[in-house]
Amino acid sequence: MLASPAAAADAVKIGLVASLTSDFALIGVLQKNAGVMAVDEVNAAGGAQGRRVELLVEDGSNSNTVALGALNKVLGDRPLAVLAPLWSTQLLAMFPTIEKDGVPTLSTTGTRKVTQLGNGWYFRYFPHDGITKTAATEFALNELGRKKVGILYVANEYGQSGRDIIVETLKKHGLAPVAAESHNATDKDMSAQLLRVKQAGADVIISQAHPADTALILKQQRQLGIDLPHVASSAASQPSMLRIVTDKDLDGVYVETAAVPAIDPRPEVQRWLRSYEERFKTTADVFALLYYDMTRMLLQAIKDGGAERSRIRSWLEKTRYEGLGATYACDAEHNCNHRAVILRYTGKTPTIVKTYDSTPK
């Protein structure tokens, strides 16, 4: 860390803003670890274009204001690119600054709208809701043979975006949800929403929520004896959520997500997972895996494209990249991951029951 001023000036700087404190740190810390791991690996292999890569890490906490302050702080050091948080509310707050500064910004958000705002500097590495929620809805209709969908969603940009895509997908099949119930991210009692869905005659529940509220929904669904198949959002596959639900709560639940490092049979993924666990003493989830891929792809862009912001952007736009979690190819909106999988949990053990892949050829 004690580099000489000359060497420090020579380093390739990358900003990293993630939620390192607050309840949002569930995912933020795992992602930061993945970013640090990718950078350290590249540095150990000689850096990018022979220069050491330096990460400028700042905490975005659970507040837009804090996240924006953190972004401004890292931008003060003129980084070549920024690894941003996945929270869409924070991203939307950061967008004007990102556009003004013209800095390539990468993150793993799922919220559909984020890449529809025409921000030419932003790249997305998680399949957006248009992919995952369509997959979840198609799965409920075609594979589970259900027609009466009850939606549970968190009352924010992420939840509403998920709800809209479920409704659109149902519409294409000539259907409408029988109920769509929202809750606040901090709510502790979901029984009223669950009972409303049940009373509306739903034969399947599709939910879009964060880890802690998803855990409450699954727990309370079981407690209320509401025996309906449940297709939950990617939050339900995260280790942090798995720790707070019981086997019974999760048994039989379907989950849409982008990848599951823990059950990926490929040796390179298992090797990566083991080295992550050894180093950080915690297990990595899909968000950590994709964040690692994203960071590696960015470092590759600096190596191959050049240490200059607009060249990094055009490299990211044009290049197809084989990562551990997916094959990344960015479309015109800069959506770079197009793969969704549906898992089924037996106790806390997931198996992949269906893969939906629409990566551009």
């Binding site: 309840d23 606040n184 502790k188 009692d189 009223a192 409303r196 004896g225 720790r243």
Partner: protein, 288 residues
Amino acid sequence: MPQLLLNGIAIGCIYALVSCGFVWVYQSVGAVNFAHGELVMVGAYLGVTASVLLGWPPAVSLVVAVGAGALLGLVFQRVAYRPVRGRPALSFIVVSIGMSILLRNGALAVWGPDPVAPPDLVGGRMLRVGDSVLSAHHLLIIVVTALVFLMQALFFAGTRLGRRLRATAEDQETAQLMGVNVRAMIAWTFTLSAALAALAGVLVAPVIFVSPDLGLFIILKAFIAIVIGGFGSIAGTLVGGVFLGVIEVLTAAYVSSAYKDVVAFALLVVVLLVLPHGFFGERIGERA
């Protein structure tokens, strides 16, 4: 419907337990303790530590957490209240806000940001009544709350210590003239109030999980319950808490889940307009 009512009453009972301890301190020292929610949160974490990390049986964990919570209350009184005693109420309010931040960030440092879920105290049992499935843990919350309120009524009316505490709450100077050790009584109030907060924390933890922000959520709701019930009234905390819990659940079920909190706060405004004293209490502003 029975499920909804049970859930509403159970969460309302938690609001009531939290409010009750809060009101004791308010009556005793004439100022609100903004760190009371954090005492609930720390109590919940103490329960989690005993039951999950140390693997103790739920009943033992409960007793240990309440005991440790009481001790924390005593220390809190010594550190946060005693140094500003005799100064305007505002001094203690500011100190309590500081303590709330300190405890929340302390919990974040000690237990981390991930929510944790302790096992419930009755082994996750569910009771089937007709079409409804009722959670035994929710019933336990209601029974424990009823017992606590009954015991505290007997304690304040029928014991020497209870009467001294009441005298101190009523008028510190007169109590002192009558030979009551006011300092000791205030220490007792903080201790008992924190024990009750820890009890609420341990009871609510399996239902809503424990995270460092638990205190903020709970104190906001408890505050509404206190105002609805009547600021300063112990009976009011029970009625206000249960009333709020039930209204929240019924609003989410029959009006709109999105407007649950809007209705809760609108209700607060309506109660303040129609019944400025709440259901039972004294007019806000008469003390603080």
